[in-house]
Symmetry: C2
Subunit: 228 residues, 2 copies
Amino acid sequence: MTAPALARLAALLADDTRAAFCLALLDGRAWTAGELAARAGVAPATATGHLHKLVAAGLLSEQRQGRHRYVRLAGPQVAHLIEDLAAHLPPAPAPARTLRAATASAALARGRTCYDHLAGSLGVAVTDALERTGRLSRDAGFALTPAGVRWLDGLAPVRASRRPLVRSCLDWTERREHLAGAAGASVCAYLIGQGWVARVGTGRAVRVTPAGGPALTELFGTDAAWSA
Amino acid sequence: MTAPALARLAALLADDTRAAFCLALLDGRAWTAGELAARAGVAPATATGHLHKLVAAGLLSEQRQGRHRYVRLAGPQVAHLIEDLAAHLPPAPAPARTLRAATASAALARGRTCYDHLAGSLGVAVTDALERTGRLSRDAGFALTPAGVRWLDGLAPVRASRRPLVRSCLDWTERREHLAGAAGASVCAYLIGQGWVARVGTGRAVRVTPAGGPALTELFGTDAAWSA
DNA sequence: CGCACGATTCGGCGCGTACCGAAGTGTCAC
DNA sequence: GTGACACTTCGGTACGCGCCGAATCGTGCG
């Protein structure tokens, strides 16, 4: 559209602190203003100002509870926008400085949630497995096959909504597309609900549980090394 | 990724002048620095600085010819990034102020190129026609059907590349997805090459030619009002 | 009730950067 | 060669905005 409108939108993410907020919120959960401030390393007063801008612009939705202000991404479109932008970043930067940081980023690369679906090598592996078993095709687009639609219906019915059933999300660690959209969210919720995939610590990272390895092998009819 | 990296990328588009440059360049052609400066309403000196940043960041590629500096988007990914961002803008703003502006924006809404594929209501109409004739499916993703792949091969073979054959692009006038990716570029080039679709003036706007109406009706086996 | 705490508002500081005019460099035309 | 032109570099101005400390408001706990 008009240049100023585009610039205003971009400007929301063009600040280190606001960008840090958005990346933290990519886990799909609600954070308090204070948590975000601490995470980004700024004073609470600074965080307040940023949150006002992000909420006013519609990127974040807020919910007040007592003396806390909870804030989350306004929806999957916003999450998709941010991941999309992140996917266009310079190839493969920033080696980890400390051992702690290295293990944390390795865990993130292995598996994580991207708002409400799986990403990282786990997300890509699930997507690959779906393709190998004929439930997903990426030859001429990115779509579930009829068999894939039936499989998903049996697994965890997706309620109809305006949200696209399937969309691809480009991963910034793997540089490959993986399953997103309502179907991606459904699969992720199912795997976590079954206890086959679990969150690690408090962040976005997830891992395959001991019970999950065999279960995933059976679910996808393939013997990928899920436990990696 | 890291917040500062994301912020740096966003900052490139977070300026009215640079945003205007990028939107102008969305037509996929090469512009001179002077043309862009005039379009954005800034002095040549200002444009030089902005172009340096955009080129250094890899969003634009430059080509020097004599005393001219030609500049274009660095590739389809960049075009996609910008259109993607534009698609997330507030719904439907800015009514046109003048008659001239109104006719220009109406022409853009009717049909335009989005870097290298068709967009606007024409782009959506073509996509709809492909779906109606069983060449494209968006039930469980966004993909060409086998029939669609055969049709495209007969029409204008797409050379293999790392670029995805099919991808969807969300339109900011129509708010609907339309065909993009290598297939979208191929269809657009074919229609323009046949003289069925032609550029209007010097901008991004395109229209269906008189010869194009019947031709499109035959091509898509449907009687949509192509000439609209 | 009174204290602790999260969040907010306000005022002021300082950096980053967008902008331009003027002067300089290279290229093309005559 | 000389002039016109596209673009660039440089210097300087001005404005926006991110940041914080301190004071305030409101809520929850003891």
